[in-house]
Structures are given as C-alpha cells and as structure tokens.
C-alpha cells in the first residue's frame, strides 16, 4: 500500500505535463483529458511493467502516445481539418502583439507533421532528453534530433511568412524578396 501511494503521487505529479502533451497531440482539451484518463488507467493496470527507479513521467508519456497513435489512425480525416480552420482564423485582426504571436505560433505548430511536433514538444517543452524522447517515441535518438531540427526550421519558415502578411509593408517587402530566392532554388 505504501508503494501504491508513492506511485499515485508520482502519477499525479506527471499529470499537468501529461495534459499539456496530450493537448498538443490532439488539439482539443476534452479529448486530451480523456486521453490522459485512459493513459492513467492503463498505467495503473500495468503497474508491474513499470520498472521502479526509472522515469515515471516518461513511462506515462509512452503509454499516452501509444494510445493516441492508435486513436489517431482511426480519426485521420478529422485531424486534416486543421488547415481549414487555420485559413479561417487568418482574417482576425491583431489586438495584442505578444498574444497574437502566440496565436500565430500555435497555428504554425499545428501545421507541422505530427512526428516533428511531438518530438519538438517532448524535447523543447516537456524537458525530456533526446534519449528519453527517443524511448517515448520508440525510435532512434538521431531520428528525434533530426525531427526537432526539421520542426524548428519549418516553424521559422511558416512564422516568417505569416508575420510578413500580418505586419505591414516592411516585412511584406522582405517576404517578396525571400520568395525570389525560393523561386531561384526551385528552378
């Protein structure tokens, strides 16, 4: 019973970060909380497969990710809607710069391929090492590193374009100049 209490506390401690990760995966708070609940239930039921002394948080993330993956495959079409709602929100006017930046950032993050997004979040926000992130995603450390790099450069690309269209002529000019470079690259 004493051991269970420790386990329970360790699980509760992981919940805030687990929720943040879940929300980043499915983009919907209610579904994310259901996912967290399912992950906790599964973890509890499979407690014997947890190795004491290892990272409880990483173990829970792994379970949650696997659950999401199997659900995601079923709901692929829903997820693809992201771009539609993205175009819609582009017309809203900026009120507060930093807030707008975050809104834009969130949208840009949604545009990333899911593997890149989750890798970036695990390493850049959840605070896992590359090695832990690789364990959670069931892939090689090099793969995580490459996904994180790709995610960052893709975000930088997307965000520079959006700020170009949203913040007046100076940056628009810069964007047009950049587009010439792109054109040269592609030809």
């Amino acid at each position: 019973m004493g051991l269970r209490k420790n386990v329970r506390e360790a699980m509760l401690e992981a919940v805030p970060s687990l929720r943040a990760f879940a929300i980043s995966l499915c983009g919907n708070v209610d579904r994310a909380d259901d996912l967290v609940q399912e992950a906790l239930l599964r973890a509890w039921a499979n407690m014997e497969s947890f190795q004491p002394g290892t990272n409880m948080s990483a173990w829970l993330f792994t379970i949650l990710r696997n659950l999401f993956r199997s659900e995601y495959r079923k709901r692929r079409r829903e997820v693809e809607d992201v771009d539609g709602s993205y175009a819609e929100t582009l017309t809203s006017l900026p009120e507060q710069n930093s807030r707008l930046e975050i809104v834009e950032f969130r949208k840009a993050l949604k545009m990333l391929p899911s593997e890149q997004r989750e890798s970036l979040i695990l390493v850049g926000a959840s605070g896992f090492s590359y090695e832990e992130a690789a364990q959670i995603c069931g892939c090689a450390v090099g793969t995580i590193k490459s996904r994180v790099n790709r995610a960052r450069s893709r975000l930088a690309e997307i965000l520079s374009i959006d700020s170009a269209s949203d913040f007046g002529p100076d940056q628009e000019t810069r964007a047009v100049a950049n587009s010439d470079i792109v054109r040269t690259d592609r030809s």
Binding site: V15, V36, R106, G124, I158, A175
Partner: protein, 69 residues
C-alpha cells in the same frame, strides 16, 4: 490588400521548398524564440495543475486496490 493573395501563395511555395530541403540552419536567436513560445503555451496548461477528476480517479483506483488486497 495583397495580404490574402500573398500569404497562401508564399505558403505553398515554402511548403514545396521545405519538402525538398527541410533543414535550414537557424540562428540561436530564432531557436531561443521558438523555445520560449513553445514553453509559454505548454506552461499555460501545466500551470492549470491537476484537474479534480484525476485526483479522484487515482484515489478510486488506490482505494479499490486496497480493498482488493
């Protein structure tokens, strides 16, 4: 304004470009900025703490466990 034409067009071009050559070297300032924004949106959720439903869920599981043994 040209905003509505420009953005999607550039977006497509960048999308095409990025498939061919996805990794661009980024300066430390851009990396830092991305990291900051990432932690901000993540942190907003973490700061909400543990919703009551999870406290209750784990308590129920724990209680059921104790009774079972």
């Amino acid at each position: 304004m040209s905003k509505d034409n420009l953005s999607p067009r550039l977006k497509t071009m960048y999308a095409q470009k990025s498939e061919k050559n996805p990794v661009v070297k980024l300066g430390p300032d851009i990396k830092a900025k991305i990291g900051m924004q990432l932690r901000q949106i993540y942190g907003e959720i973490v700061d909400q703490g543990v919703p009551e439903r999870f406290v209750e869920l784990l308590k129920r599981l724990d209680d059921a466990n104790c009774e079972g043994k």
